[in-house]
């Protein structure tokens, strides 16, 4: 089994495409939708966690590309700027998934993008603009 967090972007013409249905039904994948925004006549974006056999995942990627969806790894969506961060750690108390934690020895902030679900709770909590959302 392979697990991946992805951002799927829909151009306006594909907003009606039942992507989640195909991923589950045709490729036997577990799909966990973490976040989605759809604006008619603009683009739609969906953050998903997908789990399944590697060969099925590969075929699902081929399918998404063939219909014209843009698929990106999740990492790029929340950007952490360590040079702006002062390591106050205010963000760690509002992060629901422990993507933001404190190193107990150095007392510095640690951002683990693989745990991030782009809930953006950290953004108003950060007073130094050290985290930005590209979502």
């Amino acid at each position: 089994m392979v697990k991946k967090k992805l951002v799927i972007s829909f151009p306006p013409r594909l907003i009606q495409e039942p992507v989640t249905y195909h991923l589950i039904r045709d490729y036997d994948l577990q799909v966990n939708i973490l976040r989605a925004t759809v604006r008619p006549r603009e683009r739609g974006r969906m953050v998903v966690e997908i789990k399944g056999e590697k060969k099925n995942l590969d075929r699902a990627f081929e399918y998404m590309e063939s219909v014209g969806l843009q698929v990106d790894p999740l990492v790029q969506e929340m950007r952490y700027y360590p040079e702006r961060c002062v390591h106050c750690t205010a963000c760690t108390a509002v992060c629901p998934t422990e993507a933001l934690t404190v190193d107990p020895a150095s007392r510095e902030l640690v951002f683990d993008a693989s745990h991030c679900i782009i809930c953006e709770s950290c953004i108003p909590a950060c007073s130094y603009a050290a985290i930005e959302s590209q979502f």
């Binding site: 002062v86 390591h87 106050c88 750690t89 205010a90 963000c91 760690t92 108390a93 509002v94 934690t101 404190v102 107990p104 150095s106 007392r107 510095e108 108003p124 909590a125 007073s127 130094y128 603009a129």
Partner: protein, 391 residues
């Protein structure tokens, strides 16, 4: 008496001084005991780095030709209004000041992306800011409008003067209400969603000399990367707080008014902050050297994170309405573990002051003393409620 300030300064000069940070002496005293540690160590350095809203700087600008009298006029730096109610060319910029056009909390919660603190950070980072002045004009100062761009070096003087810094003891903030609130203690989630604290704990300057036996008016300090001085008790200084067995305050207590040369400061230790829904403020790096004049100084400087406790206060109702009492006390060690228990509920904790940067302040001050670049001063007067050790 183990040693005097003069003896310590003589050792700094010859490079023989022994300096530990306030974190390091905690372990040293556990290992060797107070008496031995006090004999070995001459100076303990402390540090803190966190938002301190009562901060700002005054400036003196070079005169234009013809001359202008800013006093009684309207002046802004970087688009942020400054106080000009002095003579012709003196200005004060507070770190929480905002441009007139900032929507503040009209669009709630406000973002406060640029205020006085950001102007100060721009200047110490080497960037120029725009000065605009409107004056009424006099026979000796006829000019009525003046617009120019100024960098830090262009001012005759630029002095950081903070009426209240270095709070000895601060609250842990929680929210018992039903909606998210935006405070100077950060974003507080409803129903005890998080608990925020703002202290350097066992590195915190005034907590390591809790009865102010070595610090007073005239103490030389580390301020924003430069040398500064304690110039007065801070506003809201409380001379006689309740204390625990270690002499640590249990209730609001000491504060300091600090001054230093802004031109010598560094953006590493002065950072503008934008508190969502609250305002702009300045995070200041401040460190105090504590001379180990007797064993009690060492005993108190070695108090660890487990022994320092803070009151937990509800910022939804109790704080804004000024209700007395707290929801209990927690130690710095518990706060640093990432989770505390309040009213039977496990609550995640977040900081506002940076322990990592506080460590850097204490470490930098230690290095400067050890390398003979920073000498200690004997205070000229105690802070209210305190008694200085002779020495």
């Amino acid at each position: 008496m183990l040693r005097t300030i003069d003896e310590i300064n003589a050792k700094i000069k010859t490079g023989k001084v022994v300096v530990y940070t306030a974190e390091e002496v905690v372990g040293l005293v556990k290992e060797k005991g107070v008496a031995q540690a006090a004999r070995e160590v001459d100076v303990v350095t402390t540090g803190t780095f966190g938002p301190m809203c009562s901060s700002g700087a005054y400036f003196n600008i070079k005169q234009s030709t013809p001359k202008i009298k800013c006093g009684g006029g309207r002046v802004s730096l970087g688009g942020v209004p400054v106080y000009a109610g002095w003579a012709a060319a003196d200005l004060y910029l507070g770190c929480t000041a905002l441009p007139d056009e900032d929507p503040r909390n009209a669009v709630y919660p406000g973002l406060f992306k640029y205020g006085g603190a950001h102007v100060i950070e721009d200047l110490v980072s080497g960037r120029k800011v725009k000065l605009t002045a409107q004056a009424y004009g006099t026979d000796c100062y006829p000019r009525k409008e003046y617009v120019t761009e100024l960098g830090l070096a262009d001012f005759n003087s630029a002095v950081m003067f903070n009426p209240r810094n270095g709070y000895q003891l601060y609250n842990v903030a929680v929210n018992l209400g039903e909606r998210t609130i935006y405070t100077y203690m950060g974003v507080l989630r409803p129903r005890l969603g998080n608990a925020n604290y703002s202290t350097a704990g066992s590195l915190s300057p005034l907590l390591k000399d809790p009865q102010l036996r070595t610090v007073g008016l005239g103490s030389r300090i580390f301020m924003g990367g430069a040398e500064g001085y304690v110039v007065w008790p801070g506003t809201q200084h409380v001379p006689e707080p309740q204390r625990d067995a270690n002499g640590l305050p249990l209730t609001p207590s000491a504060t300091l008014a600090l001054m230093g040369d802004l031109k010598q400061m560094s953006p590493r230790f002065l950072r503008a902050a934008s508190f969502t829904g609250y305002g702009a403020t300045l995070s200041v790096g401040f460190g105090l050297p504590i001379p180990v004049l007797d064993e009690q100084v060492m005993a108190q400087a070695a108090i660890g994170d487990e022994e320092i406790t803070y009151p937990i206060i509800d910022y939804c109702e109790a704080y804004p309405l000024g209700r007395p009492g707290s929801l209990g006390r927690v130690s710095m060690a518990e706060l640093m573990s990432g989770q505390i228990e309040v009213e039977g509920k496990k609550v995640p904790t977040g900081g506002l002051a940076s322990r990592a940067r506080a460590r850097e302040v204490a470490g930098e001050l230690k290095e400067r003393i050890a390398q003979g670049r920073f000498f200690l001063t004997r205070p000229v007067a105690p802070l209210p409620g305190a008694q200085l050790i002779e020495g």
